[in-house]
C-alpha cells in the first residue's frame, strides 16, 4: 500500500472492519500497535524494529482471537493490551525488563517526613510496627524513599496521594508509577540492610 492507512477512530467500526478482514483496518491497526509497542520498548537497542516485530505478532494474534473481544467498543484497548503484553514478554524473556529511564525521577529531595503512625492499641503487632517505623526512619535510603514505604504501609496512603504529596514537595510532576517504582527499588535495598534483616528475624512469625 502506497497510501497511509485510513484512520479508525471508532472502536466498533474498527472491530467490524477487522471482522471483515479489511486490509485498511489491519494496516491502521498495525500502525497503532507499532506505536504502542514502541512506547513499551523505546529504550531498547533497535527499538523500532523490535516494536514492529511485536506489532506484527500482535496483529496476527488479534486476527486469530477476534471473537474473544467481547466488547467491540473496547476493541482499541483490547488490542493495545495484547500488543503491550507481547512487548513486555519480549523484554522479560530477554532479561531486559528493567526500569525505563522515564521511571527514574531525579528530584531534589525534601526533608519532609510523614508523621509517625497512630497505633490504636499497644498490642504486640503495634509494637512491631513501631519498631519497623523506627528502623525505616534510620535506614540508609532517601527521605522520599522513606516516605513512599512508610506512606503505603504505615499511613495507608494511596499512590495517587503520595504522588500528589511528592509533586507538591518537589515542585516536579510525580506520577503514581514513579511512587511504585521508587518503593519497589527501595524495598529491594531494604531487604539487604542488616539491621532490618535482624529485626525481622527477631520478630519471627
Amino acid at each position: 500500500m502506497n497510501h497511509p492507512p485510513a484512520a479508525f477512530t471508532d472502536s466498533v467500526a474498527w472491530y467490524n472492519a477487522c471482522q471483515h478482514a479489511d486490509p485498511d483496518a489491519y494496516s491502521a491497526l498495525f500502525a497503532y500497535l507499532s506505536r504502542v509497542a514502541l512506547h513499551v520498548v523505546y529504550d531498547q537497542p533497535e527499538a523500532e524494529a523490535l516494536a514492529q516485530d511485536c506489532a506484527q505478532t500482535a496483529l496476527i494474534r488479534i486476527h486469530q482471537r477476534l471473537d474473544e473481544c467481547r466488547e467491540p467498543a473496547a476493541f482499541r484497548a483490547w488490542a493495545r493490551q495484547i500488543a503491550s503484553h507481547i512487548a513486555i514478554d519480549a523484554l522479560r524473556r530477554r532479561a531486559r525488563l528493567t526500569f525505563a529511564p522515564e521511571d527514574e525521577l531525579d528530584v531534589v529531595l525534601s526533608g519532609a517526613a510523614l508523621a509517625q503512625p497512630l497505633l490504636e492499641e499497644q498490642t504486640a503487632v503495634a509494637a512491631h510496627l513501631q519498631d519497623l517505623y523506627a528502623a525505616l526512619q534510620s535506614a540508609p535510603i532517601s527521605n522520599r524513599s522513606r516516605r513512599v514505604v512508610i506512606g503505603r504501609y504505615l499511613q495507608e496512603l494511596p499512590d495517587d496521594g503520595l504522588a500528589a504529596l511528592e509533586s507538591k514537595l518537589t515542585g516536579t510532576a510525580v506520577l503514581p508509577s514513579h511512587i511504585q517504582v521508587t518503593r519497589a527499588k527501595n524495598i529491594a535495598k531494604l531487604r539487604q540492610w542488616p539491621p532490618l534483616v535482624a529485626l525481622l528475624s527477631e520478630m519471627g512469625d
Binding site: 478482514a21 497503532y32 506489532a55 486469530q64 521511571d103 494511596p158 517504582v181 531494604l190
Partner: protein
C-alpha cells in the same frame, strides 16, 4: 484480623519474601485491570492487595507496571510515539492460503486421540507447513542459544483442529545439527497450575525421550537431532 495486623504482615512480607515466576505471570496478567482502575481514581490497595504487595516486592513486575502505566496514560492523552520509518504490515494471514488448508488436512491425520492422551506424528511433508509465519521473540533466558525458531504449531493458529498442545522447535546455536523441542500440553478447560504431571514422550528412530510437564504444561527436550524431526512422534498422556 485488625488493620494493624494486616499492615504489619504485608510490610513484613514485602521485606522478606521474594517473588517467583508463576506469581509474576499471574500479576502481569492482571496489570491492565490494575492500571485501568488506577487511572479511574480507584484506591488500589483494598481492591488488589496481592498485586499491590507483589509490585512492592518484585522489581521485574514493578518495571512492567511502570511501562504499562505510562503507556495507558500516553494512549489516553494521545501522546504515543510515532515511528520514524513506519513499515507496511504483512497481511498475508488475512487470506487463507493453500498451504494453510493443506496444514489443516495434514494435521487431521497427524493428530491421534488416545484413551488417556494424544499423539502427533510429524512427517517430512508436514514440516515445511510448520515453519513460523513471523519471526517470534524467543521466550527464554537462554535466548542466545535458542534464538532461531524452526517450527511452530499452536492451537490458536485458526487451524480449526482440536490440538491440545503447542509445539515449538528451536535450533541449538551450540550444536547447529540439534534443536530444542518444547511441548506445551494445553487440554481444553485446563490451565496453570493444573497442567503438571502429563507424560510427554518423544519417539525418534534412534532414541526415546520422556519428561513430565510442569505446572504450565511444559516439557522441554534438548539435543534432538534436526534431521530426525520428520520421523518424530510426540505422545502426551495423563
Amino acid at each position: 484480623m485488625t488493620d494493624e495486623t494486616v499492615r504489619y504482615r504485608q510490610l513484613k512480607e514485602v521485606l522478606q519474601v521474594t517473588s517467583d515466576g508463576p506469581a509474576c505471570d499471574a500479576v502481569l496478567g492482571q496489570l491492565d485491570e490494575y492500571v485501568a482502575a488506577q487511572l479511574n481514581g480507584r484506591d488500589l490497595f483494598p481492591l488488589f492487595p496481592h498485586i499491590a504487595t507483589h509490585l512492592d516486592g518484585c522489581l521485574t513486575c514493578a518495571a512492567a507496571y511502570g511501562r504499562l502505566y505510562r503507556l495507558a496514560l500516553a494512549d489516553q492523552n494521545d501522546t504515543l510515539p510515532v515511528l520514524a520509518n513506519p513499515p507496511q504490515p504483512d497481511l498475508s494471514f488475512l487470506s487463507p492460503t493453500p498451504a494453510a488448508a493443506s496444514l489443516v488436512d495434514r494435521l487431521r491425520t497427524a493428530v491421534e486421540k488416545l484413551d488417556n492422551g494424544w499423539r502427533l506424528r510429524l512427517s517430512a511433508d508436514l514440516l515445511p507447513l510448520l515453519h513460523p509465519q513471523v519471526v517470534p521473540l524467543r521466550a527464554s533466558s537462554a535466548e542466545d542459544r535458542y534464538a532461531e525458531l524452526l517450527l511452530a504449531l499452536e492451537p490458536d493458529q485458526s487451524l480449526q483442529t482440536d490440538i491440545p498442545f503447542k509445539l515449538l522447535v528451536y535450533r541449538d546455536a551450540e550444536s547447529a545439527a540439534d534443536c530444542l523441542v518444547e511441548v506445551w500440553v494445553q487440554p481444553h478447560g485446563r490451565a496453570w497450575p493444573h497442567l503438571a504431571g502429563f507424560t510427554v514422550t518423544l519417539q525418534l528412530p534412534s532414541h526415546t525421550h520422556q519428561q513430565t510437564t510442569n505446572a504450565w504444561g511444559a516439557a522441554a527436550f534438548e539435543r534432538i537431532p534436526i534431521n530426525q524431526l520428520g520421523n518424530l512422534v510426540i505422545t502426551a498422556t495423563e
